[in-house]
């Protein structure tokens, strides 16, 4: 998914087709990769550790 807006990030992260989340960064040759099954487990832990109430705010629109 080409990222043209923050909404595209949400759309990309909602897809769960592959075992890894791979993110290409502009002008960086090495992609960032995360193992999906570990991400799912870590999410709640990170939210609690950093006292984050909402994992996203995309605006009123």
């Amino acid at each position: 998914v080409k990222i043209k807006s923050l909404k595209d990030v949400q759309t990309a992260l909602e897809k769960k087709d592959k075992a890894f989340i791979e993110i290409q960064l502009l002008e960086k040759n090495r992609p960032l990769a995360l193992k999906r099954e570990l991400v799912e487990a870590a999410h709640a832990r990170i939210m609690q550790t950093y006292n984050i109430q909402e994992d996203a705010y995309l605006g009123d629109e």
Binding site: V1, K2, I3, K4, S5, L6, D8, V9, Q10, A12, L13, K15, K16, D17, K18, I21, E22, I23, Q24, L25, L26, E27, K28, L32, L34, R36, L38, V39, A41, A42, H43, R45, I46, M47, T49, Y50, I52, Q53, E54, D55, A56, Y57, L58, G59
Partner: protein, 448 residues
């Protein structure tokens, strides 16, 4: 360099020596250099003539763009406003930006009255507020507007600047009338009037008056380290445009040609462009595809006139008796209005009518207010849209991010990527170990 002049509250325990007050020595027997001003210039504050000029005390919550899920940082400040109609007070947008509580009080009434924002226009640094209970202000007389004051004519700035709690008056002359950047957003430029009357923090939003009428709203000045006695006011045409824009109940923002001009001063260049040497015609230097003239003008075209006002070779027009930037004609218009444009292309004269619209991509290059930061957190990766607030908060040094931000308009990067997204932070966790160096990068694409 420019500083908007909202007065930030000092910490109660902070020393008051921040102000180096210098008292002029009084020489016994010395004669005043000039005769005292006539008594008619004196104002009896108790008369109520200026009671419509109010002190505005504001509690602020500054959004946290580093940890956007947080509520923000509490702060406070004060400024000035003045009554322009029934329970309608005009002030600067920067006085009430990000406000969580607004209190207003007159110089003769110590009781603070809660108020709220009715309309706010960040692009011209103006706001309209109203008291929640307007009955306290029903007997006050609204101030009337004048016109554009002439150069070297006297004006007074009235407000509640630092140095005391009561109303304050400073005096000066109109030094310059020019198209200037407005520091509140840092990307907008409009007509502004320079005065040498002292405009200090807290003066913001206060009236600048001439012969009993408002000729401007004090709003910014240079820091004393840069220049002395250089203050600016928002002139009446900008104020009236704001008031007209909100007549339909909402503010529609400024419209823009979204094209830049290039002076035609070289005789050979003028001849090559087909200009006949009468000093009329400025070359189009750049055109934004998403702007009002994006489908009409091309680089190298020569703009000859706007609404039948001839455009000189330096981009100025004579408008309402003054030489002004040609954009001033567009500035007075509203979204959906049209302008008549005469231009030359390849030596041939053309004419077109253009419908004006706001040029949205530039908004993210300026400071934004009264909005909650947008973000996504996923596995400790924090994604945020690229804008000035983000750049200022994160102090990003990555060359790619800075390139995209700096060249967002000039290289028309907004066409391919309207809202670049930055991976701003990696919140450390075992799931994202060793990924911290990826922070401060622009997200290109994702494969999931």
């Amino acid at each position: 360099m420019f500083v908007a002049s909202r007065h930030l509250h000092e910490h109660p325990t902070a020393p008051v020596t921040r102000l180096a007050l210098r008292l002029l020595p009084t020489a016994a027997g010395a004669q005043p250099a000039t005769a005292p001003p006539p008594a008619t210039q004196a104002i009896d504050v108790a008369s109520g003539a200026w009671e419509g000029i109010v002190n505005i005390d504001v509690s602020v919550l500054v959004p946290d763009y580093r940890e956007p899920w947080n509520a923000g940082q509490p702060s406070g400040g004060s400024g000035t406003g003045f009554l322009i109609g029934k329970n309608r007070f005009l002030t600067n947008a920067h006085v009430v930006s990000n406000a969580t509580r607004i209190l207003i009080r007159t110089t003769n009434d110590p009781e603070p009255h809660p108020a709220k924002i009715v309309h706010i226009a960040h692009d011209c640094d103006l706001a309209l507020i109203e008291a929640e209970d307007g009955s306290h202000f029903e007997k006050l007389k609204p101030l009337d507007f004048g016109g554009i004051p002439q150069l070297n004519t006297e004006v007074i700035a009235i407000g509640y600047p630092i140095g005391g709690d009561r109303i304050s008056v400073t005096r000066g002359v109109v030094s310059r009338i020019d198209f200037r950047p407005y520091s509140h957003t840092s990307v907008d430029s409009h007509l502004a009037i320079q005065v040498d009357a002292a405009i200090n923090p807290g003066n913001s939003g206060g009236p600048v008056m001439q012969e009993g009428k408002v000729v401007g709203v004090a709003f910014q000045g240079f820091s004393g380290r840069v220049a002395q006695n250089v203050g600016y006011m928002i002139p009446v045409p900008v104020i009236k445009r704001f008031l007209k824009d909100i007549e339909d109940g909402r503010y529609d923002h400024y419209v823009d040609l979204a094209a830049s001009d290039f002076p035609v001063e070289n005789p050979a260049q003028a001849k090559a462009l087909g200009i006949n040497g009468d000093g009329v015609g400025v070359m189009v230097g750049d055109v934004e595809p998403a702007g009002s003239v994006g489908d009409l003008l091309k680089i190298g075209d020569v703009i000859l006139s706007i609404d039948d006002n001839p455009v000189m070779n330096n981009g100025l027009v004579r408008f309402e008796g003054e030489l002004m930037d040609m954009n001033e004609i567009v500035e007075r218009k509203f979204a959906g209005d049209t302008i008549k444009l005469k231009y030359m292309r390849g030596g041939k004269k053309e004419e077109a009518t253009v419908t004006l619209k706001r040029f949205d991509p530039y908004v993210r290059l300026g400071a934004q207010y009264n909005q909650r930061p947008r973000y996504i957190v996923h596995a400790g990766l924090v994604f945020q849209p690229l804008d000035r607030n983000l750049m200022d908060a994160h102090q990003i040094r990555d060359s790619t991010v800075n390139y995209v931000f700096d060249n967002f308009l000039t290289d028309k990067l907004y066409v391919e990527r309207p809202e670049p997204v930055v991976l701003t932070t990696v919140l450390p966790d075992e799931v994202n170990t060793w990924l911290t160096p990826y922070a401060h990068s622009i997200v290109d694409q994702s494969t999931v």
